[in-house]
């Protein structure tokens, strides 16, 4: 991971970069002038990297309020002839999709690249999505890097392809590529020199079906162009008995799996770097020579379905296909669900090839896991030590119980999504997409006319509030929906690494921002609101309880900086247990701090039979001290 590597002026040098840095470098080598994104894993670091080098490279980088706005800004730069880059996770494409579809119709001018981060297995997402089907639906060409090196090269080349086609080009990059590190050979850096050019003469219109015909012809030309792309390549014997068609990191997995099976001599691999539109001629040329084709891709059978459709037309009945549709290529969760890896692929290929793939490696895995077990801390999905959300969730739970009418809690997307689990006392009852909690709350809040009498609470983070909550809030005010919106304001986009949002004082490039306080928005919408510090749990309970008893749409801002940002570079308050005051298991609390409140810093000292603070983990918030019934937890304020 090296910013220096990203900025390295000397071409031809090999440096180690992460996939996300490689994408940033690729964009710099293409002379990108305008980049925008809304943070999301796995691609959050692309814009993070570009924003840090923006001044040096004379480019503009912004964390936009949401993906649609990001894409629109980036498209504008492209309309004016600049090379531009928009970055988002798969979920972001859903937000931007309306514009993406329109943009694919109007086309673009300066090279425009959309980096889409797909997260197979949903490592850091609420769900896994395969954005390729949406790209196909919107007539957007897709490139898929299989390695860090390719992530850089494809990004760079995608700009040229975009200009050639006058169409935005998607680089679909999965977590395993974004987060991997690898050597890349750098190309020339290009400083953006083009001047924006958009006059009264320019028209970028998306009206009429004639343009649809234009889209189809652009894609046909793309299909022709990609047949000669260096990103598609064949490795294997001259006359293979079968062909594996692999895309993304599955290309690497396929190589490894064939090697493990000793089947490299009979089986070839066609690496497909351009997955939409398909390089049809190239595929047909390879498929004509084999009776069997196996697909290796993540997540959905996208290449598989489209290649089978191609073969049905051109090679009817000649090839036997193995993949997710046939059920042969499948991970533990089933075909088309979750990631593949060399093990999974070796087992799948072994099954198809009739080679007994030794489960010996599985035993080794178990052994390795058991050896590591003692050394790995037992961690569940939980809020960080000192996270203000823990205090907020406890206060909301207490207030709802005190209210006693069975109030319901609707969730949203952010760190606080974890509130559906033990760490948030299982409070959240819905989790969908950015901003959905407010819209759902508005709907629930309209049900009183049918006799629905439970209080409705929705929890939303600050960044999500700016991103997607505001239209739903306006709708709720307009229709006087009956619910309480609690904004868990930790003053940053915490989950993805503390990116700024419109409530902050600085932009992505570190320039002073014209802050848009959420209070101004709420006031503008015409809703009453209260601001409260969640660390003061008792006071928060009272405020939430009182608000629960009010009518109409209303807002509570529980404001406290993300503790990880707050303690950075500061001496933390020291929290410790007074062992004379803690009475251990003779207290009625039943190890409340470590068992129920369950901050990772609250641990049980079995030897002493007392609570203990893990001072290495503790961030010094002191909330547990305010909840201990014995007052046994002490806080020593840092200087």
């Amino acid at each position: 991971m090296s910013l220096a590597g990203v900025c390295q002026e000397k071409a031809g040098v090999k440096v180690a970069l992460t996939g996300n840095e490689a994408i940033a470098r690729g964009a710099l080598e293409a002379g990108v002038a305008y980049a925008a994104s809304y943070p999301g894993s796995p691609t959050a670091e692309v814009l993070g990297t570009l924003s840090r080098v923006a001044k040096q490279f004379n480019l503009y980088a912004e964390w936009s309020v949401n993906e649609k706005v990001a894409m629109e800004g980036v498209a504008a730069a492209s309309f004016a002839g600049l090379r531009s880059l928009v970055v988002m996770k798969a979920d972001g494409l859903n937000v931007a999709l309306d514009f993406a579809g329109a943009l694919a119709i109007s086309g673009c001018r300066g090279g425009m690249v959309m980096v889409l981060g797909d997260d197979p297995n949903a490592h850091s997402s609420v769900r896994e999505e395969d954005s390729r089907n949406l790209c196909k639906a919107k007539h957007l060409p897709v490139l898929e890097p299989s390695s860090v090196r390719e992530a850089m090269e494809m990004t760079r080349e995608a700009f040229a392809l975009s200009e050639e086609l006058e169409l935005p080009v998607v680089v679909r990059c999965v977590t395993r590529v974004c987060h991997a590190s690898g050597d890349v050979e750098l190309g020339e850096l290009v400083r953006p020199e083009r001047k924006p050019d958009f006059t009264r003469e320019n028209r970028v219109i998306t009206f009429g079906i004639k343009l649809h015909a234009g889209q189809e012809s652009k894609l046909a030309r793309a299909a022709h162009l990609v047949c000669d792309s260096a990103f598609n390549s064949y490795t294997g014997p001259e006359n293979p008995e079968r062909l594996v068609i692999a895309s993304g990191p599955c290309y690497m997995y396929a190589q490894e799996a064939l090697e493990m099976l000793g089947a490299g001599g009979t089986t070839g691999i066609l690496k497909l770097g351009t997955t939409w539109p398909l390089p049809e001629a190239l595929l047909l040329e390879h498929m004509e020579r084999v009776p069997e084709v196996i697909f290796a891709e993540e997540v959905e059978p996208f290449v598989e379905d489209n290649v089978m459709a191609l073969a049905a037309g051109c090679l009817p009945g000649k090839v036997r296909f193995y993949g997710k549709r046939s059920g042969h290529v499948a991970g533990p969760a089933g075909p088309g669900i979750g990631e593949l890896d060399p093990d999974v692929l070796a087992a799948s290929l072994g099954n198809i090839l009739g080679i007994n793939y030794s489960p010996g490696t599985i035993d080794n895995k178990q052994e390795a896991l058991s050896l590591l077990e003692d050394k790995m801390p037992d961690r569940e999905l939980a809020f960080c030590a000192g996270c203000p959300h823990r205090a907020s969730f406890w206060a909301v739970r207490a207030a709802l119980e005190l209210d006693g009418r069975g109030g319901i809690v609707l969730g949203d997307i952010g760190c606080y999504t974890l509130g559906m689990a033990r760490t948030g006392y299982y409070l959240l009852q819905t989790v969908h997409c950015m901003g959905a909690g407010i819209g759902l709350a508005g709907g629930m809040g309209n049900l009183s006319r049918f006799g629905f009498d439970k209080p409705v609470v929705t929890l939303v983070g600050d960044s999500t509030f700016y991103h997607a909550a505001i239209p739903a809030l306006i709708n709720a005010r307009y229709h006087n929906s009956n619910f309480m919106c609690i904004i868990l304001d930790n003053e940053t986009t915490a989950m993805t690494g503390h990116q700024p949002h419109p409530g902050r004082q600085h932009t992505a490039m570190g320039e002073p921002a014209h802050t848009v306080p959420m209070e101004d928005i709420i006031r503008g919408v015409g809703m009453p609101y209260i601001v409260q510090d969640p660390y003061d749990v008792e006071a928060s309970i009272e405020v939430i309880y009182d608000l629960l008893r009010q009518e109409g749409p209303r807002v509570l801002i529980l404001r406290r900086s993300c503790v990880l940002a707050a303690v950075r570079g500061k001496q933390k308050d020291r929290v410790y247990v007074n062992e004379d005051k803690c009475i251990g298991d003779s207290c009625g609390c039943g190890r409340f701090c470590s068992r129920v409140f369950a901050c990772p810093a609250n641990v049980w000292d079995a030897e002493k039979g007392r609570a203990r603070i893990d001072e290495a983990v503790c961030n010094g918030c002191g909330v547990c001290a305010s909840l201990c019934p014995q007052g046994a937890i002490m806080v020593e304020r840092g200087v």
């Binding site: 119980e401 005190l402 006392y425 009182d546 207290c587 009625g588 909840l627 019934p629």
Partner: protein
């Protein structure tokens, strides 16, 4: 055997089922602060998270869990009562403060005067009181006479002020004074008898003096909405609920209603309360229902008598004979409430009522009620 034993020693779950879920909690506050799982806001006291224990102090000290009146009499007074109406006492007077009666005090200001005296004389270290104003009463732990004075005046909604007692004990205070409603007095006595394990619980050394108030019921906070509407949002400086019906005073004047107007705000738990004169207090303090500048004072325990005598000796209060013709009225009111509660418990709640009445008490009660009701 008291009910509850059949479950083993019951705890939070049983408390929730028998008391809270049935709206029988009177918001005394004795269970708040013993653990992190029972919380309060305004007049609400609720379990917010299951503690996981099968047994619990919360159940034991709750005034609304099974309570044997005979056992309570023996534990507090060492003997059983003859008077089913007012319980055990050594004297009953009209009383009023001579010095130190705060501006806001109710009637004769005797409760404030006695509490102030006990604090000044070091008989108690602090006093658990209900402070705040009429519309937002809150628990207070007073450590000086000024704070006591600021808490003067009756509040008519249930305030879980005993949470301050738990906090004070946790903070190491002893000889704590309590001024509370009858349910709160019962709670304090139950916890004193509990032989509870650990220094965190009330014990005999923890409690210095218990002043009990007369209370026929408390009201739900929805009352404030009613008052707000009725008074056009004017600040209410004082309130009273004499027999003629509720009265509220604002700076501009007096508002009065019929009792029926506010009956819907009476807390459900108060309808099943057996004790309207704080029968287990050291001294009970109430109105006279007759003369607004005097209080009724019932001296019950030896400790109560001591401070009563001290107050007379120091000229803090003056007393008058309790008018003999008014005693039957007071006894009738107290007995009438008990009869209503008994019939309600038997009718509506079957045998799940929390009051266990010894057979003799029951017979005496019927007799005394029969006598006085004619």
């Amino acid at each position: 055997m008291e009910r509850g034993c059949e479950f083993g020693m019951p705890g939070q779950e049983q408390l929730q089922k028998e008391v809270m879920d049935r709206d029988l909690c009177s918001s005394c506050g004795i269970c708040v602060g013993l653990c992190p799982y029972i919380k309060t806001v305004r007049d609400r006291v609720k379990v917010i998270y299951p503690c996981g224990h099968e047994d619990g102090t919360c159940y034991m000290v709750c005034p609304k869990t099974p309570t044997n009146i005979g056992n309570m009499d023996r534990a507090v007074f060492g003997r059983e009562r003859e008077d089913q109406a007012l319980g055990l006492f050594s004297g009953i007077y009209y009383a009023r403060a001579l010095t130190g009666k705060p501006g806001g005090a109710q009637y004769g200001g005797a409760a404030s005067a006695l509490t102030g005296l006990a604090l000044r004389e070091g008989l108690i270290s602090s006093a658990v009181l209900t402070g705040g104003d009429i519309k937002s009463p809150r628990p207070v732990l007073a450590r000086d006479a000024d704070t006591v004075a600021r808490c003067a005046g009756s509040k008519y909604t249930g305030v879980p002020s005993l949470l301050e007692l738990n906090r004070a004990i946790r903070d190491g205070l002893t000889d704590i004074g309590v001024v509370g409603r009858p349910c709160q007095v019962v709670a304090v006595r139950k916890s004193q008898q509990g032989n509870l394990p650990g220094p965190q619980y009330p014990s005999s050394s923890g409690i210095g003096l218990v002043l009990g108030l007369f209370c026929f019921w408390s009201l739900a906070p929805e009352l404030y909405g009613f008052l707000q509407l009725e008074t056009g949002g004017e600040e209410i400086v004082k309130m009273d609920i004499p027999v003629e019906g509720p009265v509220a005073y604002t700076r501009a004047g007096k508002y009065s209603w019929q009792l029926e107007d506010i009956r819907t705000f009476i807390k459900k738990s108060c309808n099943t309360c057996f004790d309207s004169t704080s029968e287990y207090a050291d001294i009970s303090v109430g109105s006279t229902e007759h003369d607004p500048v005097w209080n009724t004072l019932i001296i019950r325990t030896g400790k109560g008598l001591d401070i009563f005598n001290l107050a007379l000796q120091k000229g803090v209060i003056e007393i008058r004979e309790y008018p003999p013709e008014r005693l039957p009225l007071l006894r009738r009111a107290a007995l009438g409430k008990k009869m209503r509660v008994l019939s309600l418990l038997e009718k509506d709640l079957g045998n799940t009522g929390y009051i266990t009445l010894p057979e003799k008490y029951r017979r005496d009660l019927e007799t005394q009620w029969g006598g006085i009701n004619q």
